[in-house]
């Protein structure tokens, strides 16, 4: 043990050396991994998945380990979802990923459920969410979870009769929880839709089997709170304009003149802005979210255009006219500045939002 000339016993020196190496490895990983990751070109995950093979092809080459490959892809899908949730909230490849996983392992019920939740609530692609769940139900007719989720999605899309039907079907399957019957009654019974949605999301959150699904339910609940707060503010602003003949100049005006007792709390804690030119109330969080999603989506499409055609599009309109995108939606007052030679994008922020967004 000439390597460690310490005044310790042979075994103690060896143990100390092992610990030192373990600490060293942890330090190297802890310090250098984030640096290497930050030096990688940004936003590559989505691009990488453009070339992600189909589930059938992966099944053929998995040498009988379809379930294992599906499990590994499941982890990759969670990572994909998590990374985009923290950054651009754009989920271009979510549908493809969950399709591949469920093709590889048609009994992977959690993949249908989580995939549909992501597609319906985050990727704003409810049609694909319904397709995924219906396919899952066809392949797993004895699992209550899938018709239950179908019922929930139908309820969110105001198809109460279908929602009730699926909740009832779920309730008849083995292992179904008591809340399936209750949800069927909710969907078909009387009462405010918002109140029922809130109650269902709350139960979904409490019953969620994984933290990510819980976070999605929590986000949905906060979004409902945000919508309610925006409704309150918009109603007060309209009342102000009707009563005084001119739009309020700020949210403080609404409170000062008694149209509002106090400004409601923003569940995302980014605040609200009142446009004094027209009295419209905006949520900073929702506005930012829309801008970030649109910019990410345009940026990725520009990259894809370049890959396929060897040059950047001459203008952003080219993306629309050549079928790469159907629309480029931005909140009022926002616009995109595009540099065709480099493909760079910049957002023009209206004065109203400039301070709020800079402050972030």
């Amino acid at each position: 043990m000439a390597i460690l000339p310490l005044r310790l016993g042979r075994r103690a020196r060896f143990a100390a050396a092992l610990l030192a190496v373990a600490a060293g490895l942890a330090a190297v990983n802890g310090a250098l991994n984030p640096l290497v990751a930050s030096a990688r070109p940004p936003g590559f995950v989505g691009q990488e998945l453009v070339y992600f093979p189909s589930g059938r092809f992966l099944g053929e080459i998995s040498a009988g380990q379809r379930e294992l490959v599906a499990d590994l892809l499941w982890i990759r899908a969670l990572q994909y979802y998590g990374s985009h949730r923290q950054t651009d909230r754009t989920y271009t490849w979510a549908k493809h990923l969950f399709r591949v996983i469920t093709t590889l392992n048609p009994r992977f019920v959690e993949a249908y459920r989580f995939g549909a939740l992501v597609l319906a609530t985050d990727a704003l692609d409810p049609a694909s969410a319904f397709d995924l769940l219906k396919e899952g139900f066809h392949r797993n007719p004895n699992r209550w979870e899938i018709p239950f989720d179908l019922g929930f999605l139908y309820f969110l899309h105001h198809e109460d009769v279908l929602a009730g039907t699926y909740f009832r079907r779920a309730a008849q399957l083995p292992g179904a929880p008591e809340r399936a019957v209750r949800f069927a009654a909710f969907a078909l019974g009387r009462g405010g839709r918002e109140e029922k949605s809130r109650a269902m999301w709350r139960e979904m959150r409490d019953a969620a089997e994984n933290p990510t699904s819980r976070e999605i339910a929590d986000y949905a609940l906060r979004s409902l709170d945000l919508t309610a707060a925006l409704d309150t503010l918009s109603t007060a602003s309209s009342a102000f304009e009707r009563a005084r003949g001119t739009p309020a100049r700020s949210l403080g005006d609404l409170v000062a003149h008694g149209f509002l007792r106090r400004v409601p709390r923003d569940p995302f804690e980014r605040g609200f802005l009142l446009d004094p030119s027209n009295g419209r109330v905006h949520s900073v969080f929702k506005t930012e979210e829309t801008v970030v999603q649109t910019v990410s989506s345009v940026r990725e499409t520009v990259r894809l255009y370049r890959q396929e055609r060897g040059a950047f599009p001459a203008s952003l309109d080219a993306l629309l006219t050549q079928g790469y995108m159907t629309s480029i939606r931005l909140p009022d007052g926002f616009s995109l500045r595009y540099d065709a030679p480099t493909g760079a994008l910049a957002v023009e922020t209206p004065a109203l939002f400039a301070r709020a967004i800079r402050a972030r």
């Binding site: 043990m1 060896f14 050396a17 490895l25 190297v28 290497v36 030096a39 070109p41 990572q79």
Partner: protein
């Protein structure tokens, strides 16, 4: 230092003369031609297909050869009892381990270098231009091999060649899922499993640090800073594993 170099050169000479080295290099040449045959079926993906397959095979063959050589070399010397002759000379065991490692790296550099030259030549003929930016992926593959060789050498000092080879290949697979492991822990595991997964992902080599094939084939390439940071990571990780290998080899008793 001279002793380390002597061991390294002897190791290099011994490994490149082995049939497995020549077979691996020869076979990889055949593999590079395979995508050219598949071009008519590639439906517009000709370029990416040729690059993908080429870079992947350089990586796979580089790792396989390094694992095979690293795990068999030490065992062969013990088996043939030549190690007694070497260790009877005025050479410290740690120098022997470091020399072996450097010799194996030289062999891998030769293997990857030959494969890369052949690949770029075939690609150049096929596309009509030299794709030098892909060299970054070749360098990163070599860095990955450097880490894998250190893992293989460490396991060889405490295990049989077959077990060491299998365990090293498992390390390679796990090394590409380190990020997923910690993500899985964050999303699904309980506190104890999360801590265990976190600890494992802190100890395992993150081999994704050497994987930029996607960026190089489909994206905008990688920066010099990325390659330099990956190199630093490989160097730090390999040095620590070599230290441990030397430590274990010093404790080992030869009968």
């Amino acid at each position: 230092m001279n002793r380390i170099l002597l061991v390294a050169l002897a190791t290099y000479r011994e490994t490149v003369r082995r049939r497995v080295f020549l077979a691996a290099v020869g076979f990889s040449f055949l593999i590079f031609f395979a995508p050219l045959l598949a071009i008519p079926l590639a439906s517009g993906q000709k370029e990416t297909l040729v690059k993908d397959i080429g870079l992947s095979f350089i990586n796979i063959f580089g790792i396989l050869l390094a694992v095979l050589m690293s795990t068999s070399l030490l065992h062969d010397e013990i088996d043939r009892r030549t190690i007694y002759t070497i260790l009877a000379r005025p050479i410290r065991r740690r120098d022997y381990v470091i020399g072996k490692y450097l010799g194996l790296l030289l062999m891998s550099a030769a293997n990857i270098g030959i494969m890369a030259a052949a690949f770029l030549a075939i690609l150049g003929v096929s596309l009509g231009r030299l794709e030098l930016p892909l060299l970054a992926s070749v360098v990163l593959s070599f860095l990955e091999v450097a880490v894998v060789t250190a893992v293989a050498l460490l396991l060889t000092t405490v295990s049989t060649p077959l077990l060491a080879a299998c365990a090293t290949l498992l390390f390679c697979v796990a090394g590409h899922f380190v990020g997923d492991l910690s993500a899985f822990g964050e999303h699904f595991a309980g506190p104890a499993s999360r801590a265990a997964l976190g600890a494992v992902s802190l100890l395992l080599p993150n081999l994704e640090n050497f994987n930029a094939k996607g960026e190089l084939v489909y994206g905008s390439g990688v920066s010099l800073q990325f390659v330099a940071l990956s190199a630093s990571y490989a160097a730090c990780y390999a040095v620590l594993l070599l230290f441990l290998s030397a430590l274990l080899f010093e404790r080992r008793e030869f009968k």
